[in-house]
């Protein structure tokens, strides 16, 4: 209080500039700590990049014969197939999850009764809370065996499509542990975040646009197509990209469903499948040492750069829409 009383003594600055606020010690400490915490985040992100670069340098040596991960190969021929696998698995997940996420989001925002919508939103959030290792167990031990007859059917009836063909022999995977299974599990795991963002954006459609469409005699679907979807287009794109970021970085579901390999194939149902960067790191980390570890760190650095770019782009698309804030 005393500081406020003494304030009038401070002569007002030149007219035109606002009067200077009093800086109290408590305020300075408090805002300093707050700013410091914020800067911790900046520093952390920079440190992540820095330390990954430092630790991955040994992986790029020309002679890799004593590197127990590369075993004489060059780094780029080793990392190529798993980069492909990462992108391929994430793409499968995205293709499956996007239409379903859109459907659920529309169901919550425009179809379900108001009271039910809240419950459904909670159920979908519950899906997000299930730990990834549980999804991995479920995918490998429960889901994969169930899919075996379905895969056989796909191969027999749609085998002329290259995706469903099988090169080695004639049989599809007997355990059901294929890249398609991994993609399906990933799709389930990225559904919640995509649904949450789409729902958020659908709900922001101007009510007047919707009512105008309905008043002109549009059916509910026509209203959605004419008023909701055009409004939400950029939001849908960024939701898909965030989902892609999640799928790229997801480790356990892939590590538990697929065995480590270095294969490049588009076949979805074969016994041998491509692997992904995070799964390879998790599965081979215990056996790696020295330069081998550096190799895995280098693979992680590539993953970091790719996901950073994808997320950056997604957030940038969202940030352009100033009125939208609830991305998470």
């Amino acid at each position: 209080m005393t500081t406020t009383m003494t304030e009038p003594e401070a002569p007002p600055a030149e007219p035109g500039t606002p009067p200077k606020a009093v800086k109290r010690l408590g305020d300075r400490i408090f805002s300093g700590t707050a700013l410091g915490s914020g800067l911790v985040i900046l520093v952390t992100l920079a440190a992540v990049a820095l330390f990954l670069v430092i630790q991955s340098l040994p992986a790029f040596q020309a002679d890799t014969s004593d590197n127990n991960i590369l075993k004489g190969e060059s780094f780029w021929t080793w990392v190529g197939p798993i980069v492909f696998g990462t992108v391929w698995a994430a793409a499968i997940a995205l293709v499956i999850a996007t239409p379903i996420a859109l459907g659920i989001a529309l169901f919550i925002s425009h179809y379900a009764p108001r009271k039910l919508a809240g419950v459904i939103g909670y159920v979908i959030d519950l899906l997000a809370a299930v730990p990834s290792v549980v999804f991995g167990l479920w995918g490998a031990l429960t889901f994969a065996p169930v899919l075996v007859p379905f895969y056989r059917w796909l191969n027999e009836n749609l085998g002329w499509i290259p995706l469903f063909a099988v090169d080695d022999g004639t049989a599809t995977s007997g355990s059901g542990k294929t890249i398609l299974t991994a993609g399906l599990v990933l799709a389930v795991m990225i559904l919640p975040i995509m649904t949450a963002i789409c729902r958020e954006i659908f709900l922001q459609t101007p009510k007047l646009h919707e009512e105008a469409a309905l008043a002109l005699g549009a059916t509910r679907w026509e209203m959605i197509r004419m008023a909701v979807l055009p409004f939400a287009r950029s939001g849908i794109v960024s939701a898909a990209m965030l989902g892609l970021g999640r799928a790229l970085g997801e480790t356990m579901a892939v590590a538990m469903v697929l065995a480590p390999s270095s294969l490049v194939t588009f076949q979805l149902l074969s016994t041998v499948n491509p692997s992904t960067i995070p799964a390879t790191i998790a599965l081979r980390f215990p056996e790696a040492h020295g330069d081998g570890t550096a190799t895995l760190v280098a693979a992680g650095l590539i993953l970091f750069i790719v996901t950073f770019a994808v997320n950056f782009l997604a957030r940038w698309i969202v940030a352009r829409r100033a009125e939208f804030s609830g991305a998470n």
């Binding site: 408590g26 915490s37 859109l102 730990p131 167990l137 679907w221 993953l303």
Partner: protein
């Protein structure tokens, strides 16, 4: 059904529309046909061989065709499209429920086998095959998660306070943006980062509990920041202005007015953040390590955690595979129970202690 009652006074408004209950009747009809088809295909005559998934999928396809055809005859092409999309949207929702129900059901059924006293009182020291438990993993999970929470909650809340109460201009914008980007860091990269730091400064290949806690901190901070920020923003500005008008300094206003108002929401956020990181596996494999022994010292020797325990039991089973899988499922069930309790508790706190926004 109201359709027969309404029929006598047929008005132009309701004519050319399908009766209200019609889609449901069609759906039941489609499912019935599909069921009959699969019952005929099922030549074994064994009811256990009946293909339920196939029945539902075929039934849905029949329904989609039927509702489109019926609607385009009775109503119009536009209404047919509308009904088709309604069915597809509702179908997407039902489809999403399938994995959720299946996951929960499997984990409960499979995990129940080993939810016994031994599981919660033994570690895996000197155990090969059946028996043993996860008490070391439970201790590890509790200690590591607690440490991560203690570190990340103050940093997260202070950052949120900076962003909401102090932050202006470029710095605040950059931090908001980077927090968003940081939420997307793959968890395994966070683990690699901590591993890289410690192997550079201490020695390569080192792993102990505190490293795991730091890796989880990297993942937890952005979640806490986003949630707390959201909660601080809904504190009414009138409250702050009232405090300023009474001459209360800014920091005291935050401490005594803003934070108490938002405390329920912040608690919820923290609990949800804990439930998010408690199931993280990949970063802990790289940092906290793998061990069969009970270790409660965060700063020395590897420390087991529940998710890593589940992963390791599945990935590297010993001679008696089923015993290892049973333990993995039991660990998964324990984990799910913890997460569900945290989630439900968080919602409950949010509901009970939510600040009353009306009637001020």
């Amino acid at each position: 059904m109201s359709a027969p009652a309404a029929a006598p006074r047929l008005s132009t408004l309701t004519s050319g529309r399908l009766p209200q209950g019609m889609p449901w009747i069609l759906l039941a009809f489609a499912m019935f046909i599909s069921g009959v088809v699969f019952a005929l295909v099922n030549t074994t005559g064994d009811p256990a061989q009946f293909n339920i998934a196939g029945t539902l999928v075929l039934g849905m396809v029949i329904y989609l065709v039927a509702i489109t055809v019926v609607s385009s005859i009775a109503e119009s092409r536009r209404h047919a499209t509308d009904r088709l999309m309604t069915a597809l949207v509702a179908g997407a929702f039902v489809l999403a429920l399938v994995p959720l129900v299946s996951v929960l059901y499997t984990v409960v059924v499979e995990g129940f086998a080993r939810m016994d006293g031994e599981f919660f009182s033994f570690s895996m020291r000197n155990i090969v095959g059946a028996g043993g438990g996860a008490v070391h993993a439970i201790w590890g999970t509790v200690l590591i998660t607690l440490t991560a929470t203690v570190i990340s909650v103050p940093i997260g809340i202070m950052t949120a306070i900076y962003l909401v109460e102090y932050g202006r201009g470029k710095v605040a914008k950059t931090i908001t943006f980077l927090v968003d980007v940081m939420t997307g860091i793959p968890s395994i990269v966070a683990g690699l980062f901590i591993y890289a730091v410690f192997s550079l400064f201490i020695k390569p290949g080192i792993s102990f509990g505190f490293m795991g806690a730091l890796a989880l901190t990297v993942l937890m901070i952005p979640v806490v920041v986003r949630g707390t920020e959201e909660m601080l923003r809904i504190v009414p500005n009138e409250l702050r202005e009232a405090a300023y008008a009474l001459g209360v300094p800014r920091w005291l206003t935050i401490l005594k007015v803003v934070l108490p108002t938002a405390i329920a929401g912040i608690t919820t956020t923290v609990m949800l953040a804990i439930s998010r990181v408690i199931g993280e596996t990949a970063p802990l494999v790289l940092t906290a390590g793998i061990t069969p022994n009970l270790n409660v010292n965060l700063f020395d020797d590897p420390m087991m955690t529940l998710p890593v325990f589940a992963f390791f039991s599945y990935d590297q089973p010993g001679v008696d595979v089923q015993a290892y899988l049973d333990r993995a499922w039991a660990a998964a069930l324990t984990l799910i129970l913890i997460v569900m309790v945290l989630n439900l508790g968080a919602r409950l706190i949010a509901k009970i202690f939510a600040p009353k926004m009306t009637g001020r």
